[in-house]
Every structure is written in C-alpha cells, then in structure tokens.
Symmetry: D2
Subunit: 431 residues, 4 copies
C-alpha cells in the first residue's frame, strides 16, 4: 500500500471541546500532526492579544488547525463522498491543506508582520517546500505533493472546489474559528448550525454551493461572524494591547538601528532588525520567546522600551477615545505638539488606529475578487449569490464599517509631577 492511502491500525481521536472528537485514520495526517513545525503552533495563540480582554482566549493555532482539518474531513467523507461532481482523489491534498493552512503564522502575527514587513502566507509556503519535517512527510506521498498543498493554500490550485473548502466566504477555516473563539472566550455569539450547513454543501462544477434550503443556517453563520468581529476581534482593549506590542517592536528595531547597546542582546531579533533572517530564525520564534524578551527589556535603560514592555507584560494598557482623523486632523497635530512639550514621545504614545486596517471582513461579496462568495443553489437549479437572496446579509455586507480610535497613556497625564497644567490641557483635548 502506498503511503498516500496508508491507514492507521486503529483510528486515533483527539478530544476536542468544539467538535467533541477529531478523527484521524490516515498515516500521513498522523505524521504531519507530529511534525515539529506543526507542534510549534501550540506556542502561538489563535487570537493574539485577545486573552488580555477575554481571559479564556488562551487557545493556540494548533487547536484551531485540528478543527479545520476535522470540518474538511467531515465534508469530504460525509457530504461529498459518492457525489459525481466531487473527485475523491483530492481528499488527501485538501485534508493536508486544511491542517496546514496556518502553518506560517508567527507570534502575534499581525503586529509582527506589520513591523518587519513579513507575510505569514509566504512562510507557510516556505515551510511546506523547504527543509522541514513537514516537507519530508508530504514528499513521501509524491514529489509534487508539497507544492500541491501549497497551491491549495495559495488559492492557485486548479480544482476550485478544493480551494473553496479552505478559502471562501464560508470555508472550514471560518466555521472553525467562529465556533472555537466563541467557545474559549465564552461569548454567546459564534453559534450556528454547522451540521446543517455541512449537510447542504454540494460540489458543483468548479465551486461548492449551498442548497437554498439551508439559507437560514448560512444567515445565522454570517451574523455570528458579524457579531464576533465587533464583539471580540475588533475589541478596542485588545487593539490597545496590539498597539503597544507594535510600538515595542518598532522601538527595539529603531534602537538597534541607531546602535543602542542592549543590556540583554536580542539574539532572536537581530536578523529581523537587519532583514537577514532565515526560515530557521523565523521558526525559532514564538510568543513565549517574545514575552521572555519583553520581560528582560522591562529592565532596559531606554525608558520608552522599558515602559512599553512593562505595559504589555503587566497589562497596563493605553486608554482610547473615538477619533475621526480626517475631521480632526488639526487637533491631532496639536496633540502631537503638546505631547512633545510634555516630554511624551507622540510616535510611541499617541497612536491612531482604525479597525478597517485590520485584515478582516465579515462579508464582502465581489470585492477585489478576494474571497469566493457564497452561492445558493435554488430549487430550480439556478445559482444565486447569497446577498441577493437574503435581506439580512444584504444589509450587513458590502458596507465597510470602520472604527477609529486614538490610543494614549492616560496614567502619564494624570500622574503627579511636573507640567500639570500642560497635561491637564491635553486631557481636556482628549475628552
């Protein structure tokens, strides 16, 4: 028997709080889960800084990756199996892509990629194709198998049904994370009838469609997404933590570039500071490593770096106000001036942040051709895009809702000490 079709002697199961059990029968899947690059995902939180607001959100990307795998497994083994429009020889590649779709994520991805100009999707590809345990395992299926998996994740794979299961407006990725993030945060959003959605998914030509009898379950899923985005993913306090994190990395990089002598040599970061890092450097990072540095840097003599690290580690976050930069640009300039006069560097301590910068959308059909939209199959066979059929979805889709905030360290402004009048003036402007 070839490696691709090799089955475990006995099915293995993982106890999962969201899907109850994750089932593994394939030797390839079992081996990939054991690979060190996949195990590394245990050390990266699924929701980055969100645990500082929702204390239950301490779950890792490892967790989520198993969940996505399980959903795709159910789709192909239960819903698609035996349907003529589905090519069963695609089973293994889509299972691997599901499991590995987040493989390239680094610690606190969004902030880290932002500061160092990286892209986790690029790292996913490098891990799949480079000198790694994952690549070694996938290559045993066939020489071109790692590339195939990369193509599915990169959305260039020829079979668009396969791509859809991983990356579309209603893919296994989203179905898992909505439920999982709701479970771990404990919020009451994020629930929808996934079992029903799986039952009405159908392979059709070059896409995956939803039988229109399941439209209400899909509406419920879209609403879950909408609620999760505003209640959890865009929560201003977790954005505050992310703002600080970004500024820590900026400061460390800036100090390094100006030849600052760190008391603790930032070994893990050096090659990111000068952009000479390798894949191995990237894989050596995780959130424990970053936090270890931040704790060391709390003792650095650079007061900005040490202060920001103290804020992040000990959760002394920035306050925020609603702020419309376009309208209040003059006020922003004035605040920057006042901050400087008060001895508080506005580059690090007066931060405008907009949720529309975040790489999320809850449902935007047809925009940028980015994500494959949701198509319903009507009783007469006709295919209709969801938002043309559902008033609810039409109402909330397409409208890019943004949320602009200005973050600042209120404690600096209320603390006793010098320049009280100036600080009072700033506070008044910020209220």
């Amino acid at each position: 028997m070839s490696y691709a079709t090799q089955k475990l002697a006995e099915e293995k199961v993982f106890k999962d709080p969201v899907h109850r059990y994750i089932h593994v029968r394939d030797q390839v899947i079992w081996d990939v889960i054991g690979a060190k690059e996949f195990q590394r995902l245990r050390r990266i939180k699924q929701l980055g800084t969100t645990y500082l607001v929702f204390h239950g959100a301490e779950h890792s990307r490892f967790n989520h990756s198993l969940g996505v795998y399980e959903i795709v497994r159910r789709i192909v083994d239960d819903s698609f199996e035996g349907r003529p429009a589905w090519d069963p020889s695609e089973r293994l590649v889509v299972l691997c892509a599901a499991l590995l779709h987040d493989l390239g994520h680094g610690p606190f991805s969004h902030a880290f990629e932002n500061v160092f100009g990286l892209d986790h999707e690029e790292f996913t590809k490098q891990i799949l194709l480079g000198d790694t345990e994952v690549n070694e395992i996938l290559s045993r299926v066939s020489d071109d198998f790692p590339q195939k998996v990369a193509d599915v994740i990169g959305k260039t794979y020829p079979n668009k049904q396969v791509v859809s299961l991983i990356s579309s407006q209603i893919d296994a990725d989203r179905m898992d994370y909505l439920q999982r993030d709701a479970y771990f945060t404990g919020v009451s959003y994020g629930h929808f009838d996934m079992e029903r959605i799986l039952r009405v998914m159908r392979p059709l030509d070059d896409q995956v469609v939803i039988k229109s009898t399941g439209m209400h379950a899909v509406e419920d899923y879209i609403m879950s997404r909408y609620q999760m985005y505003w209640q959890v993913y865009f929560h201003p306090v977790s954005r505050s933590a992310e703002v600080i994190l970004t500024k820590i990395l900026h400061r460390a990089k800036a100090l390094s570039e100006t030849g600052y002598a760190f008391e603790q040599q930032p070994t893990h970061f050096l090659r990111f500071f000068d952009n000479s890092f390798t894949l191995q450097d990237y894989l050596a990072l995780d959130e424990g490593v970053l936090l270890t540095y931040f704790q060391l840097w709390m003792n650095e003599k650079d007061s900005i770096l040490s202060d920001l690290c103290n804020r992040f580690v000990n959760r002394k976050l920035f306050q925020y106000i609603e702020f419309d930069l376009a309208k209040d640009y003059v006020k922003m300039k004035e605040l920057e001036q006042l901050f400087k006069r008060a001895g508080i560097d506005p580059e690090y301590y007066l931060v405008f942040d907009s949720s529309s910068d975040l790489p999320y959308d809850f449902y935007r059909p047809g925009e940028e051709g980015e994500r494959i939209p949701i198509h319903l199959q009507m009783p007469n066979g006709e295919i209709r895009e969801l938002s043309r059929q559902s008033e609810v979805v039409e109402a909330i889709s397409g409208k890019r809702r943004t949320d602009h905030k200005l973050y600042f360290p209120e404690d600096f402004l209320t603390a006793d000490g010098k320049k009280k009048a100036l600080k009072k003036q700033i506070l008044d402007l910020l209220k």
Copy 2:
C-alpha cells in the same frame, strides 16, 4: 469611605466561559487583579503539561483564580449573607484569599518544585508579605490584612469557616478547577450541579456543612473528581511529558554543578542551580521563559540535555508500560544495566513514576488531618461525615489507588544503528 469598603462606580464583569460572568464590585479586588504578580498567572498553565494530551487545556492559572473568587463571592453574597452563623466582616479576606490562593505557583509547578526543592505555598506567602504590588494593595486595607490573607491560604486563620471555603474537600478551588478543566479539555466528566451545592452550603459553628438534601449533588461532585483524576490529571501521556521536563531540569542543574559551559548562559536559572535565588528571581520565571530556554538548549552540545529538550518542545515523548517496582525490582536493576551497556543513561531515560506520588487525592476523609472532610447536616440537625452516609463515596474513598508506570524512549531502541541485539533484548524485557 475606607478602602476596604470602597465600591467601583459601576460593577465590572469579566466574560468567563465557565461561570458566564465574573462580577467585581470591590475596589480592592479590582486593584489586586491589576497587580503584576497576579497578571503573571496568565503565563502559567493551570494544567501544566496536560495540553500535550488534551489540546484544549491551554488555560492559565489566572483563569482559574478568577473562577475561585467568583464561587466564593456567590457563597458569601448569596448563600451566607444574613445567616447568623456567618460573620460578614470576613467577606473581604475570604475573597482575597480565593483570588490569591495560587499566587505562588511557578512554571510547571510540580516538576520545578520537585527539582529545586521549592514549595509554591511558601512563595504565595512571600508574595503576599513581601515587597510586591499585591502587598502594597492589601496593606492599604490594614497593616495586618496581608498576613490575614496569608493565614487563610495557609489554613491557620482562626475562623475555620473562612478556611473551609478555600481548602476543604469541597472548596471553591476544587469546584472551579473540576468544571474549568472539564470545559477546556472537552471531556464529559467534571459536570455537577454546583448551583445546588452552593444553595445547600451552610455556615455552622466552626465549619461549613452541606444540608443532607444536597447529598446527591455532592456525590456527583465526588464522582466528577474521581473521573477527572483518572481520565485527565493522571493521564500517563501527560505524566510522560512531566517526567521529561523533570529530567531536563535535573540535567541542566547537574551540568551546571559540574561546570559545564552552556553556549547560552542560563541566566534565569543560575541562582536556582546554586540555591541563591530571591523572590524576584522566582517571579521572573514563567512557562514562556522555560520553553525559550528549552528551545535554545536543543542546540547545546550535551546530547542528553539537547535530546530531552527536543522531546519536550516537539512532543516526542517517552513510551510507558505498567510496572510494579516492588515486584519487579530485579528486572529494574537488569534494565538499568542493559541501558548502560546500550549507551543510554538510565538516570534520564528509564524512569519509574507512580501516580500516588502526585499531590492529589479525590476523597480521603480523616487522613492526615489534611483536608477538612465534608459534613452533612441531617434533617434532625445531626452532623455526619459524607462517606458514612453515601455508599458511593464510601466505595471510592479511602482506597489509595496507585498507578505505576515505567517510562522510556522507545524510538532509541527501535532506531537503526549499533547494538541492535542488545536493544532487542531490552525491548523484549519491556514488553
């Protein structure tokens, strides 16, 4: 208004997946939660290495501490309030003790304390009484308040009702962790009707008793404990990870003592190796720090240290067999000899471990006076110890059930290479 009775302008709530919401009205509680020593508990997992078996078990001690606080808050605010046998002036001290009872836990506590001869309860006391943010806050209540909190946690506090709520066979600590650990692992054990138990708890003389009408809910709680211990807490695979962890720390300490030159100076550990550490050294540690070192040590030239670290970080754990050391002592000696001859140091690679060594018991009334037993109040007012009233509890209590395992690296013995016959002989002995 004094600090002790100061209320927040608006009640704060934390979304909690187990208790739905954690409610905070007291300024003191709010301030303690913000203290950096308490925030540090976010960086220490509630269940140590268990996440390597139950991937959902990534929740922290911070999580659990809030939960224990909330349960005690409900008991004193809902069940006890207004009852003559309860002294309402004990409210704040018991809430603080609930919140802070695990404050001294370090990273992977059991293994770490074991290797360095520490005791987390001692550290709890030091943090409460030492130069810390927590101490500064508690001292604002009154000079002797930190000591009172320490006495409650240390079980020497005069009011035994207060002690009972935190440390007895049915305390808030256990009620929270059973439910929380069940929730995050996803197992179906760990459920019991806590709301009913809270309703039938009564302060009485120097103890807290349970109205006998609630006995079945208590039986269910005891069964949950029994099941959680055998299904989750004593799981042999997570013990395997703990064995490796212990051996890593042993090896690093041993190397240090023999003057081994680490490529990466183990700064955070040095004063633990020579037993000269301070409280600040202890507080600088967390699980991210340990894992950062373990990843660095994977590249150390000492092959035992690097191998063990690789095993822990990348989850290449030891296999195990049932092993009765008393009966098979000769076999153990033989195995040790064979391991040596095969070039595998038995001190690190052949590890006997017994669950009865673990600091857990599910219900042992009257043993060592350690934990206050559960007392039922019968309809006629009589007080009876639970196991005298419940056949189920009698059946499972008192019997110390142990589980002995021998751990070893099966991959070393099956790998290609030299000494195949010898390794085969070892494997045969281990089957």
Copy 3:
C-alpha cells in the same frame, strides 16, 4: 405581616432546563402557581401544532409562564433594585403579571380563537377578575390587586415601566419563549446573551431602556427572533396541521348548525357552537380534551369530519405549494371548480394560508403603536430607537415578509380510483 410581603419559610425552587432554577420566595407567587387555573396551563402546549414538525416541542404554557416570571424577578431584584427611577412597590404586581400573562390561552389558541371568534386576552382578564382560585388569591393582597394585574397585562397600567417588562419589543415574554422554544425544538437559533441584556436594562422615566453598550446583544436577540420565526414559528408543515385543525372545528360547527346528529355528543363544544359558553366552559377545555374528541370523530359518519380528524390525529397532513393569490386568482378559481368536480370539497381541502395572517412580528418599530419599541441610551444620555442605530435591525425590521401557501391533500389526488384524468389535471396545475 401582610399577605403581600409574606415570605416562604424557605425559598422554593423549580428545576428549569432553560434558566436552571426558578426561585420563589413570595407566598403570593407560590399560591398562584398552585391555583387550578394556572395548573391548567400544563395541558396546553406552548407551540400548538409545532410538535408535529419538531418532536421536542411538547412543552406547555405552564413551563413558559414560570420562565417569564423568573426573568422579571431577576430584572426587578437584580438589575432595578435600588435604582431611583424604579418604584419598588411595583414588584409584586409585575411578578404576578409575568406569571399570569398567558392565563387565558385555550387549546391550540390561534385556530380555536379564529373559529369561535374569541380572544385569549379577554379570557385572561375574566380569569383574573372572575370567580376563580387565582382571583381569590390575588384579592387577598388587596381588593384592587386583581384589576391591577389585569391592567398590566392589558397594557393600560399607569406605570409604563411595568407594562414594558411584560409587553414590549424586548420583554420577558419574548426573551423566555425564544430561548425555551429553541431549547425544546433543539434548533441552534434562539440563543442570545440574556444575562448581558438584563445587566444593561435601565428604568428611565416612563420606559425601560437599554444602555447602548449592550446593543450587540440586542441585535443578536432580534436576529434570534427573526430566525425562530422563519425556521420554527412559520414552519409550513406545522401550518398545515393548523389548517387542518381549523377546518375540523369549522366542520364540526357547521354540522352542528345544520342539525347533524353526532354519534358522540360533543358536550364540551355545544355552547361554543351556539356562542352561549361561560368561563367555566372555556376552562374545561384543553388539548387533551380536543384530541379526545378528534379521536372519537374519526368514527363519525360525516366523511369530511372523520377524514380531517384522522389527518390531524395520525399526522397525515396536507401538502403545500407556494401560491400568490393576488397573481393567481384565476387559477385558484379554476382549482376550486376542479376540486368540486372531483368530489373534493374545496372549502375544506384547498386552503390558502399566509404567514402574514399570523399574529407575530419580529420587529416593527412604530407600527400601530402596538408594541413599545426598543430604545437605546447612548453614552451622552440621548435616547435612540434601535433600528436607527443598528444596520442589522434596520435591514430586517419594518419589512413585512409574507409567505403564501396553498394546502391540499395530495394523497386524494394520487390515490387509485375514479376520475384519474381529472385528478391528474389538478395535480399538474398544482405543480
């Protein structure tokens, strides 16, 4: 102590699957629950014929009434207590109104009221004010107390906060039934964060408002309603059962009016047929009684009555098609003619039914002044109607979505026998 303030020696609790426990401390509430007119609600299903589609929906109005009481109890005892805008002397009247708001419902209310021209709200008033156990109990509070309770339920009570808790767009009635009906049917809709909504409800002037920080929880509640209406309450198969039920009652009444000799005298119905019934006649009815008659009538010689009863009792329901009466009026007339020619009385066997006839709306602000809309209290104190603030709610509110169906007995048309060509012609028209 007066009866109004009399407390039970020990709090009583009911185990409730939706709210976990229903708590009763007041003697008045306890006595009302024991009254026979309230116990009668156990014999009337909350969702009428819905159990024929969702088999779990066998729960009674008794169930729901306790739930509404518990929600109101939490609002007044937890959220409102101590707030200056709330008058605590309204507590008992609102609790009684919550418990008794559905007291006048009869068996399969909608169909029954429809056929006999009744109104359950009128019966609620009669039971509260007439010669009943409930009236006797309420009168012991004060002579005018039964009238006060009736006024709250009838929405004429002066204190509009009190009315709002029972009858508004976000009242305890709706919050209970959405959750309860979801629980018993097993659908995944119907979940929303009620605990959060209760926490942000505020008495203000003559209304109850929602702090705008809770808007998303309210959106979720509105979406639950939307989904429950379309997935459960308007389900075409349960409407099919309701159509048959209505036709049974119509037929029995018509037969009685034409002097038909029933083999089993329909004692319970006689005074409804000739509109001479008393309150006692009404209270003697319940769903068991109706079903007992329907089973007897299965043996009546009138073939229409016996057939319809057989259909309802043994769940041999009508089929249906989408049908636009306005557009297809000619077709309807043609079908009626064909039915007559085929010997199938169209008055009983060709039934047009429209969901917009049903007494439900999921959110219609400002329409008919019927239900008090949901008002948000913005951070600056301003009050805004929900649909002006929420895009989601705006999208789905105000639009009266209707669903028109034509019901008919397909089995009659496909059965072997005479007039096959004619029946085929009918079937073709119906496809």
Copy 4:
C-alpha cells in the same frame, strides 16, 4: 429493489435536542414512523407523572423511540459495520426493534397496567402481529419480519447481539432515556460520554462487549443511572401523583363493579372494567383521554372519585412520611382505624408505597438472569463482568436500596371542621 433495502431519494432528518439530528435513509423506517400506532406514542409521556415535579418533563415516548433508533443506527452503521463478528443482515430488524420497543405502552403505564393487570410488552407484541398499520408495513419486508421484530423486543431472538442492543444493562434504550430525561427535566445528572461508549462497543460471539479502555465512560453512565433513579425516577412527589392516579382507577373500577351510575358514562373504560377489552380499545386510550375523564369525574357525586380526580388534575397531591411497614405494622393498623373513625377511607387515603416495587434497577449483575450484564474486553482479550473490575460499580450494584413512604392527604387533617381532636391525634401519629 426489495422493500427491505429501499432507500429514500434524499435522507430525511428530524431535529432532535438530544442527538441533534435523527437520520433516516430506509423507506421501511420512514413508513413505520408514519404509522398511526407509532404516532400514538406522541400522546403518552415518557415519564408519566414526573412532569408534576420537573415541569420540563413533558416529552413523549415518540421522542424517546426516535432517539433509541438513532443510537442503534449509529452503532450498526458506524461502530459495527465491517466487523466480521457482526452480521449485517440483522441491520433492519434491529433498527425496527429499536424504534418500536415501547410501542405497547399505554397512558401512565405503570399505574394503568397495575390496576387492570396488563402488560405493555404483551401489547407491543399484539400491535406488531395484529391488524395494524405497523404490521402491514413490516409484513411487506417479509412474512416473518413482524415476528422477528417481536422476538428481538421479547428477547427470544436467536442473535443475542441484536437483543443486547435493545435490552441489556447498557442498551440504546437506557442510553437514550438517561440523556433525554436529563435534558428535559434540566437536571445535571444523566450526562456521560455516549460517543466514547459507542466507539468501544464491539460485537463478539453471542454478545456485545465494551473495550476496557472505555471503562471509565461506562462507570460514568452507571453513575448517571444511579443519580437519575434517585433524583428523578423515584422522586416521592411524582410517586404521590402516581399513588393518586392508581387510586382513581381503582375507585372507578370498584364503582363500576358495584353498579354505580356514572353521570358521564366512562365509555373508554367499560371494557377494561369488565376485562373484555380488545386491542382497538387499548389503542384508543392515551393520556389526554384519561385526563378528559378525570376532569369530568371531578363532578361525579361519588366524593372519593371526585376528590381524587381533583387532586390529580389540579395537583393537590398527598403528603408523605418515611415509613417502615415491617417495623410499624401496628401503627399502620392504628392509623387505618383512626382514618375510618375520622370518615376518611384508608383504602384510598392512607397508602403505603415502596420504591422497590418499581420496575427499575440501576445495575444488578447476574440477578434473575433478567438483563444481560456489561462485559469488558481486557487488553489480553479476557472478558470480565464490569462490577468485578470497577470499584465504583461494585459499590453501588447488587444492593437493593428501597425507599418506603406513607402517603396521605394532609389537607383533610388540618382543615377546619368536625373531629378536630381525632385529626390532631392522627397528625401527631404521622409526625
């Protein structure tokens, strides 16, 4: 294609709150569900009088029967399929037996059978084999198929694996009702990891065994049973209602036998009173019919019958005390005399009832050969009876725990009126 193997064009699903969905693919199963004798189970509550204590327990035997079917379907389609020890040709017979195992239950079975000397298992057989819709459908599979189904339910079927799935100490019947009754009552007992149990069930020779790795899940199931029996099934208040119900039927029968002239002729009961009933008479009964009569009888001139009916319908139940008949036989006789002197007929108003009379046991291995015990398959292949392996199960099994109560109408004894001293004397004896 034969009827036995005929599949529906599209799988049908029922939404079920316990198992989420019930899946039906077989035409035979679909047809049986539609048969009127099966639909009749909608009109019989699963838990008889329990809804008078746990108001959520209003679910029907229809509900439960679908659940048992679904569990067996999962076992044979998921766990057993493809295993050599399982004969796949048994699939349909075991599915039908699962669905129909409770078919012969009448209204408030226990009391009804008790008074009229009936046996619901006998009726199940009659319905399967008699002139019924169910028989007509099953006969289309093959002439002997109805008898086969009856044999499985009657435990005389040759293939004992098949019998085990329906009737053993861990059969689908029990697994469904524990979970279902817990769900509808809302109690926290009744949860166990059924999915795990299904995964470790194995056909072996002439039985079904459980892999020993699943022992803890089975222990949890046994504990659920233990808790459900004492918390729900034996609840003294629902036994009080059952006592009254039994006495109503006794009284009506006694009156009929003595030629009492009922104002409302008890047509449905007449042939049960004189033991001349047919299957059709039995099938004409349900709980709605009984309650309809009880409501009519509330107006009968016989004061005992009318009083008892009033008690049952309006939930004015008997009080109870613990009572040891063997020890207090003299007291019982004395009470009977005093009741007579007080004009309260002790035959109807002083009722001794013992839970050990009830047809339940939670785990009695080896007793009377009644139920097949649970056998574990050890890793070495050996088979061991559960209670020999599990301390918990050993502790609670085999011990027949009884609970003796004496029921009486306390309101009669405390009411104002004549013979106050005598009633006082009775009350003192009863305290």
